[in-house]
């Protein structure tokens, strides 16, 4: 209803194929990004940065990666955590083993390493799909869990696989305060989101989606399943690897393999389901939802409990969290398999057609 699109006609394909073809959307997103860079740091306290915003940004990045693979290419993965782990440990090794390696470079190299490993673990996708593929990716997950726990070289001989990194710096900017961390992650996320959007709206993305929607037809028009699937694994793992490295370097500072366990994989998968498969924005919605929900429940449940005179234990909160997560997943799969992003898109479409219903 706030859309006034009369007179917004396109006179070139370039204008027609912009990321946000409707100027209102374009301005809104631009305003949002500017606000995120300028407004948020002025308004928000440290706790918000640490507990919500930084995890949200990094998990969004990871969810983007999962979405590329699951949502766009249709290849289910339960091994997202493994890719994050590879990214994190590879970045760690690049950092400590090569003198003077800039932090950003080692993070990106970690991503590349994750991409390489991702390709290897993507190979089964050429033979199997669906459930079988899920099992294959689980294999990757468990293997990585084990490898970083037991193979000492990866963790520079530290026991139990736990490692830590000093504060990182970028062109002389030492990233140690929560605000710095936030801005650093935000910057990376913005760039990576744009890249992801470009990929999925271009030839690469169309190939992925073709494979997802109807692989036989895709082959017949000259799309090579091997190439498409493996690139999806590679790009997805690259994103996950970078996210893993950020999670380790920026969010945690020191970590153990458990930070990237099967639970992390499942969590990422849920983000994508709830947020919206096959939509870039879905990754953000999903990440926001999953980061905020537990915090919200932690605050709310005891309050609700006290209303009824009940003591709500922390254990109970975590159980209720389980129940709510599970129900939501089933709910979304039944009601809106395309997640919050689709709800958002439908709402937006309604606003464009307002006051008409269709």
């Amino acid at each position: 209803m706030f859309y006034r699109e009369n007179g917004q006609f396109k006179t070139s394909y370039k204008a027609d194929q912009q990321v946000f073809a409707i100027p209102q959307d374009r301005w809104a997103i631009l305003a949002l990004v500017v606000f995120a860079f300028v407004g948020v740091p002025m308004l928000v306290d440290e706790y918000m940065f640490r507990a919500i915003l930084v995890p949200f940004l990094i998990l969004s990045l990871a969810a983007l990666g999962v979405n590329i693979l699951v949502g766009y290419c249709g290849q289910i993965t339960l091994g997202a955590g493994a890719s994050m782990a590879v990214g994190a440990y590879a970045a760690y090794n690049f950092m400590i083993r090569i003198d003077g390696m800039p932090a950003l470079a080692s993070i990106l190299l970690g991503g590349l390493m994750a991409a390489a490993v991702g390709i290897v673990f993507g190979v089964p996708s050429l033979r199997v799909r669906g459930l079988y593929l899920a099992v294959a990716t689980l294999a990757a997950q468990f293997f990585c869990d084990w490898a970083f726990l037991r193979i000492r070289w990866f963790t520079n001989d530290s026991s139990s696989g736990s490692v830590s990194v000093p504060d990182i710096s970028l062109f002389g900017w030492t990233i140690n305060s929560p605000t710095d961390k936030y801005l650093f992650c935000l910057g990376i996320l913005v760039v990576f989101s744009l890249m992801a959007k470009n990929l999925v709206r271009g030839n690469m993305g169309r190939q992925w989606m073709a494979i997802r929607d109807m692989d036989v037809a895709a082959t017949v028009i000259g799309i090579r399943p091997m190439y498409s699937k493996l690139t999806a694994f590679a790009v997805s793992s690259f994103y996950l690897g970078v996210a893993g490295a950020l999670w380790g370097f920026v969010n945690l500072g020191s970590w153990e393999p458990a930070a990237f366990s099967i639970d992390r994989s499942l969590q990422l998968l849920f983000m994508v389901i709830i947020g919206g498969m096959g939509a870039i924005s879905g990754s953000f919605f999903g990440a926001a939802f999953i980061v905020i929900l537990p915090i919200f429940l932690n605050q709310m449940l005891p309050l609700v409990g006290s209303l009824f005179g009940l003591e709500v234990s922390i254990a109970l909160v975590s159980h209720v969290e389980f129940i709510i997560f599970g129900s939501l997943i089933v709910f979304f799969l039944i009601v809106e398999p395309h997640g919050i992003a689709r709800l958002w898109a439908t709402g937006r479409e309604k606003l464009r057609l307002w006051p008409f219903p269709h």
Binding site: M1, Y3, R4, N6, Q8, T11, L353, F356
Partner: protein, 656 residues
């Protein structure tokens, strides 16, 4: 503009080709023509258009097109057809745009009558039509087509692609660069600029010859009147053969230098309208009616909350919207507040989905518009105005000035136009904008233009106390009931047609003791209505015969009666009986003109048996009618029509 004129030392801008050259020089980079093609709005600037026109002109000249030749143009609104008009004018020829959906025999008449040697047509479909009638029109020598699709195997020598002609023209132009300037220089303001065939409510079509002078004058008066600039955008989607489109999409665009936009196809007009969001808009009342009908249908599918909101705010708009648009000071503060809220919630979005957000001025003409319909658009903030015109007057005789809009008048005489009412109540017009003549029909010309230069419009009307002209009906249609009450069928029909469920109505009553009516239901609206009630139907005839539908229409007619009873002038002419026709009135069956006006007399004769039934008090009547399908085949439609009686209301006396 004046500076450049004197700088170039050229003749005054008194012909269209000169106007074009001027735009190319003054605003060469501004968009002149857009067309949605291949998914985007392809744009040509004024200087590009000037070049294209020049190339077409040279090509035509190469083919032997000479001063005084007539050039037929047949097709949808395509840029190159518009340009060809100007190209013909450059060479001193006369473009003759023709209705693209006309059947071959109709075309044959115009082609012969207009002594056409050259035709530029849109595509294969039109080429086929012309080839079919070529033998009847020996004069037709060259057929040029714009779209080469499917034309590869046509070997006729008379056929040529416009592309080739343009290419040829470019070579010609390089060889003889002085040719075109010379031809343009030969043009005189009093030359015939265009020949438009009247839609012919009665008799065979006549070619109306208009000169550069008159059309430019008419366009200028409109441009000045509404302060149009070269920034306007207009969507050109009405038949090019209609005087309205010629005035708005050609003459005014050429005078003011604004942009015309051609839609992608007939199916996409609404989408294209939304995209372009014209600032200047022109449509016959029928289009506005259909739009309103779709609005109402779509709103019925909305949720209760939205629908409630819609109706509430529409009531607010009805109360004060038009007054706010007119800038009247009488509107209360609370109403203004409510209207502002409504503007955010309903009117603004509504204008947006209708493609009317950017409209500064919209016009309707061609037929009378129902006051309620008119009020609807003005109340949601669309500056819709009526103008009164005829093909013979290059459109605008009367215009409604801003802030002086009356729903039932067509406004004041346009600048430079004299209007008076004859003793017989007929509207007479005199001024620069009159036609030069009917092509090769001095008899007809003499018939409509009297010795004093007054043009007889054939409409009945009168001036009200503010000097606004009110048109009642076609002069020849206005009749009297047997009790001497004045009977203006159009007036009643328009009231009927305001209901979304009624598409067409024809009223009878001249020399009769009561008024009866034929009704056509609107397939879209009534179909939707029936579906929501789970009423199954197989087609128009079936749906039109359903008792539920008849009941629905009866309610509409009764409301019209109630309305009529309030006005002493027309209270006697309430509708007593009606029937819903078993088929839709159709131009292909000659029941409507190409501009979709009812051919009253023809319909009356064709369905005489139904009229007899209406007046003889029968409850049903069997009828069988032959119909023409789109592909030229014919078939028969038969039905047993029920005739419904309607409640009438006692005449209300004006409160003293």
């Amino acid at each position: 503009m004046a500076a450049s004129q004197s700088g170039r030392g050229s003749a005054p801008l008194d012909t269209f080709p000169r106007l074009l050259l001027n735009h190319a020089a003054v605003r060469g980079d501004r968009p002149a023509t857009r067309e949605k093609y291949l998914g985007i709005w392809q744009t040509w600037s004024w200087s590009q258009v000037a070049e294209e026109v020049r190339a077409i002109a040279c090509g035509l000249a190469e083919l032997g097109f000479k001063r005084g030749d007539n050039l037929a143009l047949i097709g949808d609104n395509r840029p190159r057809l518009y340009w060809s008009m100007c190209a013909a004018q450059m060479l001193g020829g006369v473009p003759v745009p023709m209705y693209q959906d006309a059947v071959a025999t109709e075309m044959a008449f115009v082609l012969t009558d207009g002594a056409i040697r050259f035709a530029i047509v849109e595509d294969q479909e039109q080429v086929d039509k012309l080839l079919e009638i070529k033998e009847q029109c020996p004069g037709l020598q060259h057929i040029l087509y714009d779209d080469p699709r499917g034309m590869r195997h046509y070997t006729q020598t008379s056929l040529q692609g416009l592309d080739e002609v343009i290419a040829m023209g470019k070579i010609h132009d390089t060889n003889q660069p002085d040719f075109i300037p010379g031809e343009i220089a030969k043009g005189r303001a009093e030359d015939v600029a265009v020949m438009l065939y009247t839609s012919g409510t009665t008799g065979k079509p006549k070619g109306v010859c208009q000169t550069h002078e008159t059309f430019i004058a008419a366009a200028q008066s409109g441009v000045g009147f509404d302060h149009l600039t070269d920034q306007e955008d207009i969507l050109s989607y009405l038949p090019m053969a209609w005087v309205g489109d010629h005035l708005f999409s050609y003459a005014q665009a050429m005078v003011a230098g604004f942009t015309i936009n051609c839609p992608e196809s007939g199916d996409t007009v609404m989408t294209d309208l939304r995209e372009i969001g014209p600032t200047y808009y022109f449509a016959p009342p029928r289009v506005f009616e259909n739009l309103l009908t779709t609005v109402m249908i779509r709103m019925e599918d909305a949720g209760a909350l939205k629908r409630g909101m819609f109706h509430y705010f529409m009531a607010v708009a009805k109360r004060c919207g038009a007054d706010i648009l007119d800038g009247k000071q009488t509107v209360s503060g609370s109403d203004r507040l409510l209207y502002a809220l409504g503007n955010v919630m309903i009117y603004g979005p509504l204008r947006n989905v209708l493609g009317m957000s950017r409209i500064r001025v919209a016009y309707t003409a061609g037929a009378a518009i129902g006051p309620d319909l008119f009020r609807f658009y003005r109340s949601i903030g669309v500056n819709l105005k009526q103008l009164y015109a005829a093909t013979e007057t290059c459109a605008a005789v009367c215009l409604q000035p801003d802030r002086e809009i009356k729903f039932d008048s067509v406004g004041k005489p346009a600048p430079g136009v004299e209007v008076k009412i004859s003793d017989g109540g007929e509207v007479l017009v005199r001024g620069k904008l009159l036609l030069k003549e009917y092509y090769k029909r001095p008899d007809a010309t003499a018939e409509v233009i009297d010795a004093d230069g007054w043009f007889h419009t054939g409409d009945a009307g009168f001036f009200d106390e503010d000097g606004h002209l009110k048109i009642i009906d076609r002069a020849k249609d206005v009749g009297k009931l047997s009790n001497a009450a004045i009977f203006a069928p159009n007036y009643i029909e328009n009231k009927l047609k305001f209901f979304p469920h009624i598409k067409e109505a024809v009223c009878f009553g001249h020399d009769r003791d009561m008024v009866c009516a034929f009704i056509n239901i609107d397939m879209g609206a009534v179909g939707n209505w029936a579906e929501r009630r789970g009423l199954p139907y197989s087609g128009y005839t079936d749906l039109a015969g359903k008792p539920e539908v008849l009941e629905l229409i009866r309610e509409c007619v009764e409301q019209v009666n109630a309305d009529l009873s309030h006005d002493a002038m027309v209270a006697e002419t309430q509708i007593h009986r009606f029937l819903v026709l078993h088929k839709e009135l159709d131009p292909d069956d000659d029941e409507l003109t190409r501009t979709r006006q009812v051919r009253r007399r023809f319909v009356g004769e064709k369905y005489a048996v139904l009229i007899d039934a209406l007046y003889s008090g029968n409850a049903t009547q069997f009828i069988e009618t032959q119909v023409k399908f789109e592909d030229g085949r014919t078939g028969k439609v038969a039905a047993d029509l029920k005739i419904c009686d309607v409640k009438t209301f006692p005449v209300m006396k004006k409160a003293a």
